[in-house]
Amino acid sequence: MFPNQFEYQRPDSVQAAAGLLAADPDAKLLAGGHSLIPAMKLRLASPSSLVDLGGIEGLVGIDAAGTIAIGAMTTYAMLRDSRELSRVLPMVTDAADNVGDPAVQARGTLGGALAHSDPAADFTAIFLALNGSVDVTGTNGTRTIGADDLFVDLFTTALQPDEIITSVSFPAPDSGTGMAYEKFRHPASGYAVVGVAAVVTTGSDGNVASARIAITGAPSKATRASESEQLLQGKKLNDESIAAAAAAAANGLDINGDHFASEEYRRHLVGVLTGRALTRAAAGM
């Protein structure tokens, strides 16, 4: 299939792009295009114009010294192949290698994934678990949105229609931090039926100082497993505490089901994968 007709614009600055978005409520941003273009081909989306971010300099790159800053147009392939990133945020490079396939990784962008907020995306959960933030620019200037405020609902974020994510930041992990992302992959789409990202830091006493666990695939937007996080707080990370956290991971979550995986089964998987992610995170500390 083929997309409907649209206007195509390739601005050379973020401000100009924001202006184009502000001028046309039916315009869409084009980053890697690997969610948008398939939707346009099936004519599930027919934007009046596309604003291609590919012509704007300064949106690509990884700076992992101190706070980790990643340009919004940085592709999964760049994340996957970054040695410095694999040292500080190994979960990110691992997960990037498991998004879609190498051709998708070559075009799909971190900023695009977060702005799209697909309920089955991997990096929404990773962003939440790593307590990231995004810098955004709109016609009214720039602001920063924190991890817990970005995702609003299915395909809906806190971004204003004219706002564009320019970079994504993650705090440098404290020593004693382990992290892992566990994904139950859909056999056809490759998306997460359920994905669980866990980031756990233990203090000098060996007890959990902070735990962030985020679930994707099952709920309509990436969501933290708050009850599990609280159960771990101050505890030793061992089989017993992990089992308790896993058992609570789906509590309070509004979970979707479909013909491939029902709500009940996804709920079960959230627990299993939370356990596995925490076990791997503990091993990686």
Binding site: F2, L42, P187, A188, F260, A261, Y265
Partner: protein, 795 residues
């Protein structure tokens, strides 16, 4: 043999790399969508968004005025064109045939039914204009499940098919006899099983290009086709009413078929009709969603099995009752697949005294179901191989041993199963079973399984065995030609072997490839048999102009039927060459020896005439024996005396994740017997791909319809074609039991892998769960389904 005649280096049996490959690996292939003709126009199809409705109005005004649009047509415009025929009307299909029209007229019966066609200057514009057509529907109730469709009060699809029944067909002993045998059996098991609906998914979707040339009144159709001669015949004589000599059908490079490109589809006559109406060549190439919605599907059986056995596992009776969902209309050979190709093969490899098979074909508001790789035999093998494991479970006899105890013995061949199939030609089932068990390490696996169960491991081990026999070379007129059984015509095949003046050779065949390497395999046979260099031989196919009529490639028949036609033509050429050599050597024909491309007089090997010498003499033709015509060419039309029946045993070992239900195949062994092998590399490749598709049915694939008839798995985002990471390494071995049905002793290899593999995986998964109380589980074994079975089994 004299010293001057070197020993021939035979190509048959050698893994020669394929001559087809260089163009395909450099992007130089010519697939349907690669065809570009001057003045080409492009067709797009408006398809029904609803599964069952009356069309109350269609307004194409807006579409006609959209940019680039050349023409818009609806079913009304094509009202004079015949519907597509159903060529294979099995017994019981008489007055309830309903086949599709090119474009729907008045009513739609499945999502994806073609309603209107737009032809435009570009394919983008043609698709745009679909949005300019307005259709009003009066929606009707839909039914998608065959079990629901036959119930009283179900929505009715066709007036001439009460209760949506296409046909009611039986074979074997009468039901009362088998009931009696079941009642008297020491052990009796019954089980309902589903063989789910699959989408064939050739990587190249389907399409057609039509060209009408007014000056000559000739039509040319390029089509993604496994059977161009049949398509020519059907489109010309049955649909459009064109004189058959005025139509030429060409199958360009075909990107896989697996059955789905055997059939006559609406677009084939449509592009010809449009080309004539518009004076332009017209191309239609479906997209993947159209392919999933409307190109034929496979399988979709619901079957009740009843088995009787002795306490030591000898099967004494088998009763099989099947509802076969055939979709909204009858596709070209659909009734034959669900009846004779299925029901007459349910005995499998076993001597079973009392068998009764009952099949009802059913219309539903779904895509048409027709042959998909294996076509009936996978469904039959699934039934009998699950039945063997059910007997094993009920009697406590090891599953491999149940098979061994029931096998037809070598001395029994040719063997008549008593359910109307031609007799199995040859077989020796025990060695393949033993070899498969040995390669798999069966005894050690059983020990490992016991150990894991004892210590409650989170990875459950399952071992599945499947022994199969299948029928290849679907052709013999004495079976497939019988009226009420088959096509009413034998599916013979043809070949023309022509040696040119220069000694180079052209072979034309009615068989044609869509990935199987016919050109390589056929050239190997001709090189050996005629004794000319392999590179001097050209294999021509796929164009009805220049090849003799043939029924096409499917049913694992290309080598055994088409290849035999070539073999026999070569023999005829050799006979003529010997006559001419005798004349050239001034000897009696009966004294001529012909080997490896050389002829000499018995006892005088120093005076040799090569096939090239003889070909030259035959063509310059000034010194031929009295009465001999010039030229060196022979044609054969070959109707085989029987089918061939390859067999084998597959063993699959799975690990099931106790926590998620995920199934992983950790070992896969296939030992197959396809008789003599021409090119072992190609045969292995056929088995790899066949097994992959069989595993895919067991673990991943299944077309899912919502109750309202919407296809939920309408894209590759939902329908799980397995990826490289989802399939195991296949460990293959062979035994060789030849056949004398054809002179090559070959049996056919295209579908056996698919037929043997699905039950091996199914039996392995059920075996992994058996200690939890699971006796059967329907496919596909998605993680959730397996997880639920473990929950329930444990309860």
């Amino acid at each position: 043999m004299a010293a001057t005649i070197e020993a021939p280096e035979l190509l048959v049996g050698q893994p020669i790399r394929r001559r087809e490959d260089p163009k395909l690996m450099t992007g130089s292939g010519n697939f349907l969508d690669d065809i570009r003709l001057p003045g080409m126009s492009y067709a797009a199809i408006l398809r029904s968004p609803v599964a069952h409705a009356r069309i109350t109005s269609i307004d194409t005004t807006k579409a006609r005025n959209m940019p680039g649009v050349i023409g818009v047509f609806t079913g009304e415009d094509l009202a004079d064109v015949n519907p597509l025929p159903c060529a294979w009307q099995a017994a019981g299909v008489e007055n309830n045939v309903a086949t599709p029209r090119l474009l729907a007229l008045g009513e739609v019966r499945q999502v994806g039914d073609p309603i209107a066609v737009v032809v435009a200057e570009s394919v983008y514009q043609a698709n745009d204009a679909l949005e300019g057509i307005e259709v009003d529907f009066e929606e009707l109730q839909a039914v998608v499940d065959s079990r629901e469709a036959v119930k009283p009060g179900a929505p009715q699809l066709h007036e001439n098919a009460p209760n949506n029944i296409v046909m009611h067909w039986t074979c074997g002993a009468d039901a009362e006899t088998v009931d009696k045998a079941l009642a008297g059996a020491e052990v009796r098991v019954s089980q309902s099983v589903a063989n789910q609906r699959l989408i064939p998914t050739a990587m190249e979707p389907r399409g057609s290009v039509g060209l009408y040339e007014p000056a000559t009144q000739e039509y040319t159709l390029w089509a993604t086709s496994q059977a161009p001669h049949v398509h020519k015949l059907v489109v010309a004589a049955f649909v459009l009413g064109i004189p058959e000599q005025k139509i030429r059908v060409i199958a360009p490079d075909v990107g896989g078929g697996f059955g789905s490109k055997i059939f006559v589809y609406f677009d084939m006559p449509l592009v010809l009709w449009l080309s004539k109406a518009l004076g332009r060549p017209v191309k239609f190439f479906e997209d993947r969603t159209e392919n999933y919605l409307h190109t034929t599907h496979g399988r979709d059986h619901h079957t009740d099995i009843e088995i009787g056995a002795t306490k030591d596992g000898k099967i004494t009776a088998l009763k099989v009752s099947t509802l076969a969902n055939l979709g909204a209309y009858l596709s070209t050979v659909a009734p034959g697949v669900a009846t004779t190709l299925y029901g007459r093969m349910v005995a499998g490899c076993y001597k079973i005294p009392n068998i009764h098979v009952d099949v009802k074909g059913v219309y539903t508001n779904t895509a048409m179901v027709d042959a998909y790789r294996g076509a009936g035999r996978p469904e039959a093998t699934f039934v009998i191989e699950r039945a063997c494991d059910l007997v094993a479970d009920a009697t406590g006899v090891d599953p491999a041993e149940v098979r061994r105890r029931n096998f037809i013995q070598p001395a029994d061949f040719p063997y008549d199963t008593g359910i109307g199939m031609l007799p199995y030609d040859s077989g020796n089932y025990v060695p393949a079973l033993d070899l498969a068990l040995q390669h798999a390490g069966y005894a050690s696996l059983l020990e490992q399984q016991a150990a894991r169960r004892a210590n409650g491991g989170r990875k459950l081990l399952g071992i599945g065995v499947s022994s199969y026999v299948e029928v290849c070379g679907i052709a013999p007129s004495k079976w497939i030609g019988l009226s009420g059984e088959g096509w009413g015509a034998g599916l013979w095949e043809s070949a023309d072997v022509r040696v040119y003046l220069t000694g180079k050779v052209s072979v034309t065949s009615g068989s044609l490839p869509h990935g199987q390497g016919h050109e390589t395999t056929f050239a190997q046979i001709v090189a050996d048999r005629l004794g000319v260099p392999y590179d001097d031989i050209e294999i021509e196919h796929s164009d009805t102009k220049g090849t003799p009529f043939g029924f096409g490639s499917y049913g694992s028949r290309s080598l055994t039927v088409g290849g035999t036609a070539i073999y026999k033509s070569v023999d005829k050429v050799v006979e003529k060459a010997k006559l001419l050599a005798a004349h050239m050597l001034e000897a009696a024909p009966e004294d001529i020896v012909y080997e490896n491309g050389k002829a000499w007089v018995k006892g005088s090997p120093d005076a040799v005439k090569t096939i090239q010498d003889i070909a030259l003499q035959a063509h310059v033709a000034y010194d031929l024996p009295s009465g001999m015509e010039p030229g060196l060419e022979a044609v054969t039309y070959y109707d085989p005396p029987n089918c061939t029946f390859p067999f084998g045993t597959h063993v699959c070992v799975v690990e099931v994740d106790r926590d998620t239900g995920n199934v992983e195949i950790i070992k896969y062994v296939g030992v197959d017997d396809v008789g003599n092998v021409i090119n072992p590399m190609i045969v292995d490749g056929q088995f790899h791909g066949g097994i992959a598709q069989g595993i895919a049915q067991a673990l991943y694939e299944g077309a899912v319809y919502a109750d309202n008839g919407e296809l939920i798995t309408a894209t590759m985002n939902d329908y799980a074609i397995p990826k490289a990471s989802m399939l195991p390494t296949y460990e293959l071995d062979r035994t060789v039991t030849t056949t004398d049905v054809n002179p090559m002793g070959a049996k056919g290899a295209g579908e056996a892998g698919t037929i043997g593999s699905t039950p091996a995986v199914a039996n392995a998964v059920v075996d992994a769960l058996s200690h939890l109380g699971v006796k059967h589980l329907d496919m596909p074994y998605t993680p959730e389904r397996v997880w639920r079975a473990m929950q329930n089994g444990n309860a």
